[in-house]
């Protein structure tokens, strides 16, 4: 699969052809850092001053790199595909290998970030549990009631939440059995056939 770079995109990346390899390396590092942690406009200005060009050109170049890496990760391009795509854009061999190196190094991290921002559901992180016995309350003395208290840690688009729940022994066993059944279902013939075909 080839990634076709749009004309505007190619224009933005053209600036990279006119600078030395060190600068290209620095830009690659910056683009990956911005993908992980967000952009920082001050960097554009300081780089512009050092290199003697307008900040907007630097910004477009780095954003172009970010977009290139994002699209390649999204399509899960393998090495040869990435190289072919970049070659078609008309970059020099040195530039190509530098971009490839950066892409391969950071592909897993970039995909992880993309997956994180895609999740619309609260994901399970951890479960702490504890067994108590309820002995008495204001409305009833001389009780012996076992209670299982649970702290469920979930993560929802970066935000972590905890929920406190409780249950009794019967429901705990029921919960465990039901969820074990769910896990078993993944090993059934039907599910394995579907998973294989995608």
């Amino acid at each position: 699969m080839l990634l076709i770079l749009g004309d505007e995109h190619k224009q933005h990346l053209e600036y990279l052809c006119s600078v030395s390899l060190d600068v290209v390396q620095e830009f690659c590092r910056l683009s990956v850092e911005f993908l992980m942690k967000g952009t920082n406009a001050k960097i554009y200005n300081s780089a512009a001053q050092k290199l003697g060009v307008e900040a907007i050109i630097i910004q477009k170049a780095i954003e172009g790199l970010m977009h290139l890496f994002l699209e390649s990760s999204k399509l899960l391009l393998i090495e040869s595909d990435f190289q072919d795509s970049v070659k078609a854009a008309g970059f020099s061999d040195e530039l190509q290998s530098e971009l490839l190196r950066c892409y391969l190094e950071n592909q897993a991290d970039i995909r992880r970030i993309q997956l994180d921002i895609s999740m619309g559901l609260s994901h399970y992180r951890d479960l702490e549990w504890r067994l108590d016995v309820k002995l008495a309350s204001r409305s009833l003395r001389h009780q012996v009631e076992p209670v299982v208290t649970m702290k469920l840690h979930v993560k929802d688009s970066g935000k972590e939440e905890t929920r406190l729940l409780q249950t009794d022994p019967v429901n705990l066993v029921h919960m465990t059995r039901t969820l074990e059944e769910a896990l078993q279902e993944l090993n059934s013939a039907h599910c394995r056939r579907i998973c294989r075909n995608f």
């Binding site: 895609s118 994901h123 409305s139 009833l140 409780q166 066993v173 769910a182 279902e185």
Partner: protein, 226 residues
């Protein structure tokens, strides 16, 4: 309405007159029944105010309406069995009997303690026997109703699950992995409504969750064997 009757009766029972100097028989009772309740019990035991037939029926109505959590019948005094009973007295006796049954069940009092209270309120032996019979018959259901009062964390009563195969989204082609959607149905504070806590899990995460739940079950088994 039944719920409010319960809480009202409980506050009655606990509404003690702090002046303990007021008659040695209040201290003897050891069940912290308020003055109103004691007065009501005196009336209940008195066959002039409450004839025998009315007493039996009233006992049954009080105990059943608490256990079944039914609201009190507002037209109770119109029943023919209560024709001769003054309405104010009926109300006080109804509350007193309910308070006594609830307080005795709450403190897990045995037959002897309850009999003692009734004797102090000048109940006849026949009426004591009748009340004790009703108390013994309904003690467990009363305790069960009382145990549900109080604040709890959301209580998990059921689990639903669904297995999806996550193919792709707008940011990523080829996500290609199974995702479980787990619904934990919880009940808050003995009401009938359930709320749902929904979480998603990958296969590894679900295995982790099931492992932890299995540990909890094993912990329970070990404690149960002690």
């Amino acid at each position: 309405m039944g719920f409010y009757l319960l809480t009202y009766l409980l506050t009655l029972a606990n509404d003690t007159d702090v002046d303990y100097g007021r008659g040695p028989w209040i201290r003897k009772l050891r069940m912290d029944l308020s003055e109103d309740v004691i007065e009501g019990l005196h009336l209940a035991g008195d066959s002039v105010h409450i004839p025998d037939q009315s007493f039996l029926l009233l006992l049954r109505i009080v105990s059943e309406s608490i256990v079944d959590r039914r609201p009190a019948d507002p037209h109770l005094s119109a029943k023919k069995e209560f024709g001769s009973v003054d309405r104010g007295t009926l109300k006080q006796v109804y509350a007193a009997l309910g308070a006594l049954l609830l307080e005795a069940a709450k403190l897990d009092k045995d037959v002897a303690a309850v009999s003692q209270v009734l004797e102090d309120c000048k109940f006849s032996q026949e009426r004591i026997k009748q009340l004790i019979a009703v108390y013994q018959q309904h003690k467990q259901p009363l305790r069960s109703v009382l145990s549900k009062i109080g604040s709890n964390l959301p209580h998990v009563v059921d689990v639903d699950w669904r297995l999806d195969y996550y193919i792709k989204n707008n940011n990523l082609e080829k996500v290609s992995r199974p995702v479980f959607l787990i619904d934990l149905k919880t009940r808050v504070n003995a009401s009938e409504e359930t709320e749902t806590v929904q979480i998603a899990c990958t296969q590894d995460q679900l295995q982790d969750l099931v492992g932890k739940l299995r540990d909890a079950c094993k912990g329970l088994e070990r404690v149960a064997q002690l």
